[in-house]
């Protein structure tokens, strides 16, 4: 039996359900796992050149590499060109749980790298890096991000943030997905069979 009682936070969610995010009754309802309070920050126009606020240089480089492997450049820009590492940094800088998961994950990656004969994850070949990450990805997918293993939680977190950051960027939404909305139409066209 669902027994539901709401405080103000969940109310904001309901309000969201009525308002701006009504379109997403689940999954992206709580957009990008952030609370409503986080949304009131003002915007710099671009984030591509931003210096990391939270990660040190080495960790930022590792995160950037993972992000790049999750959404690589193809015939369209990938996550790096879309400034996703800076977005990941921005979000994690405000969430201590995510910081702990990330710290554990990064340590775990370097330990795996040592086992593969290198000091650092970044020193491995792409093939070696993928052989570490792909099993994590599979486990994360299988458990819907609710895995108990720290390393899987870490990967699921970075994948989610990469997806969020990339597909809300100009490169991801406009160049890759060819988003065409937010424009003015005089009439909404009737559907013609080949759309």
């Amino acid at each position: 039996m669902a027994n539901y009682s709401s405080d103000r936070r969940s109310l904001l969610k309901i309000f969201g359900a009525v308002g701006a995010t009504c379109a997403y009754p689940f999954a992206s309802d709580e957009l990008f796992g952030q609370t409503a309070e986080a949304h009131h920050h003002e915007a710099p126009a671009t984030h591509e050149d931003a210096q990391p606020q939270f990660f040190n240089k080495a960790d930022f480089a590792t995160i950037s590499r993972i992000v790049d492997l999750i959404i690589p450049a193809t015939d369209t820009p990938g996550a790096l060109a879309a400034g996703v590492p800076a977005y990941v940094d921005l979000v994690i800088a405000r969430n201590t749980d995510q910081q702990l998961v990330t710290a554990d994950g990064l340590r775990w990656l370097d330990a795996e790298a040592t086992r593969a004969g290198s000091k650092k994850f970044l020193d491995l070949t792409e093939k070696q890096q993928l052989s570490i990450l792909e099993p994590l990805c599979e486990l994360a997918d299988k458990t819907n991000g609710l895995a108990r293993g720290r390393s899987v939680q870490f990967f699921a977190l970075i994948k989610s943030l990469t997806a969020d950051g990339y597909y809300t960027s100009r490169q991801g939404l406009r160049d890759e997905l060819e988003y065409k909305g937010n424009s003015a139409m005089a009439e909404y066209p009737s559907c013609v069979p080949e759309h």
């Binding site: 039996m1 669902a2 009682s5 103000r8 997403y24 939404l173 997905l177 003015a184 139409m185 559907c191």
Partner: protein, 521 residues
């Protein structure tokens, strides 16, 4: 603020209920004050209607533009209330929705039926402009419509699938203009309808109802005034409304012959519960003990899916005005083992967020490709069903928690009964079946029932022992106190409540004006 001025009517809240009622009263010559807890808004300039996610570091598009107050919390939304942010779906309740108990013995009847409400629906639709198709359905009465907006290609795929199961899909009915009026342009289909509409093609009570009425001089709008107490006099009347300024916290009093509470369901109930006195120790007008009870929000279940016919197709601009189609209630004519019914809203996502990309499998180029292919095929399907009143579903004041103004928080409690669960599960089954018949692959479905559209808690009725208000939305206990929002609905139907809130508000305005004219208050 002229604290000594005695208004004919003081209205607390400016949304669908308060906005509609106050404008009607002003038209009829009453001297009306509207107190709104939130700030004044400029619908045309204050919202991020045309924002895109990459303009914001956290990629969430804030409702308001930088530095513009409003819509930032429960008690401070702004003039127009939730009609600024609604999706504008406008459905008439049917005779069966008003008289459900007479059909199946469950829940509670309204004290009147469709015939009583029809002229008020007519009036409201003419004022706000509702687009839709004349479908001739028993369970969803036709209204006075502007031409419908064409369905999207993806809607037509679902229509075809649903028809295989004998289920009708109709054009959505929305208070968004498909043709311009003398004062408002038609919709331009920018696809961000749950933000403020910057051209007011989408109805909001501030621009469409209250501003023109205020120009007549009969309607005074006072924003940033958070009402916290309705004290009762010795003769069991409410003669004044106590409020404080949202920004300065300076206290104020407004006096009226009639007081109307219209703060959007739970907040209205909360205000009445807060207004305790020795005469009404459990809340204003609560001699029945029914205040807060019979909370019956709509219960929803959502699906995300990909329509396989559209996977890999080129991306098109089909955000439109969000949902263009609707699955109206169809269970009343089918055999089932539960009372009441459901409807399904669908395809009301816009395409500037891709939250589902998180849960697509894999990584690398193939992952990226699978998202690109499915982007034109993504689709949401959300069923809404009625729930019946039960003792575990009620609105109360939190005994401990207070809000940023130090006022008790309002708590909503709800729990599905066995019959509600049967309806819920059957609704999900029908949703799945329609999706499968439409050749959709289901990507996710909501794990637990969720609530939307708050309804009930202050219901109308003929029996003062089982209802808080009479058939004119007037308190059984306090003869000059009225409530006009969805809290007054004795049963909720599965249909979006706003059009009925407005129809009821304009009807209540007529009744109040009549009493004022006769000198009864």
């Amino acid at each position: 603020m002229q604290t000594n001025h005695l208004y004919d009517v003081v209205v607390v809240g400016s949304g669908a209920g308060g906005g509609t009622l106050s404008a009607r009263l002003a038209d009829l010559g009453a001297d009306v004050l509207v107190l709104e807890g939130g700030p004044k808004l400029n619908t045309r300039t204050d919202f991020n209607t045309h924002g895109l996610p990459w303009e914001f570091p956290f990629r969430h598009i804030p409702t308001m533009k930088p530095g513009k107050p409003g819509m930032d919390g429960e008690r401070s939304r702004g003039l127009g209330g939730k009609t600024q942010l609604w999706n504008a779906v406008s459905l008439r309740f049917s005779e069966r929705d008003f008289k459900g108990k007479a059909h199946d013995g469950a829940g509670e009847n309204w004290p009147f039926g469709y015939a009583e409400m029809k002229p008020y629906y007519d009036r409201i639709e003419k004022q706000v402009g509702v687009c839709g198709n004349y479908d001739g359905l028993e369970d969803l009465p036709d209204g006075i419509f502007l031409p419908p907006v064409p369905m999207k290609c993806t809607d037509l795929a679902v229509k075809k699938g649903a028809e295989k199961l004998g289920v009708k899909v109709i054009h959505v009915r929305k208070a968004t203009l498909s043709r311009p009026t003398r004062t408002r342009p038609a919709c331009h289909f920018c696809g961000n309808c749950m933000s403020g509409c910057d051209v007011v093609a989408k109805y909001n009570s501030y621009d469409v109802h209250m501003l023109p009425a205020a120009a007549s001089g009969k309607l005074t709008l006072q924003q940033n005034s958070i009402v916290y107490d309705l004290p009762v006099s010795d003769e069991a009347k409410v003669k004044e409304v106590r409020y404080f300024d949202r920004e300065t916290r300076a206290e104020g009093v407004a006096r009226g012959k009639v007081i109307v509470v219209a703060c959007a369901c739970a907040q209205s109930v909360g205000l009445l519960l807060m207004s305790k006195s020795s005469r009404f120790p459990t809340g204003l007008g609560n001699s029945s003990g029914q205040l807060g009870k019979n909370f019956i929000p709509h219960i929803t279940a959502g699906f995300e899916a990909f329509l396989t016919d559209f996977i890999g197709k080129p991306s098109v601009n089909d955000e439109g005005f969000l949902d263009h189609a609707y699955v109206p209630s169809f269970m009343h004519s089918r055999k089932r083992d539960y009372p009441r019914s459901f409807g399904v809203q669908f395809n009301y996502q816009n395409h500037r967020a891709v939250g589902w990309a998180r849960s697509m499998k894999g990584m690398g180029a193939s992952y990226k490709q699978s998202i690109k292919e499915r982007y034109p095929a993504y689709f949401v399907f959300t069923g809404y069903h009625e729930m019946l009143p039960n003792k575990d579903s009620y609105i109360e004041l939190d005994p401990v928690q207070v809000d940023e103004y130090g006022l008790p928080r309002v708590k909503r409690n709800w729990k599905l009964s066995e019959d509600d669960w049967k309806l819920h599960n059957d609704m999900k089954k029908w949703c799945r079946d329609i999706l499968v018949a439409s050749k959709a692959e289901i990507h996710s479905e909501s794990a637990a029932p969720a609530s939307n559209h708050e309804v009930g808690g202050c219901r109308i009725g003929t029996d003062p022992r089982t209802s808080v208000l009479n058939e004119n939305c007037r308190s059984h206990d306090v003869p000059n106190l009225y409530v006009v929002d969805a809290s007054v609905f004795p049963s909720s139907s599965e249909k979006n409540p706003t059009l009925t809130i407005m129809a009821l508000a304009t009807r209540t305005a007529d009744h109040i004006a009549d009493r004022l004219k006769r000198g009864e208050v």
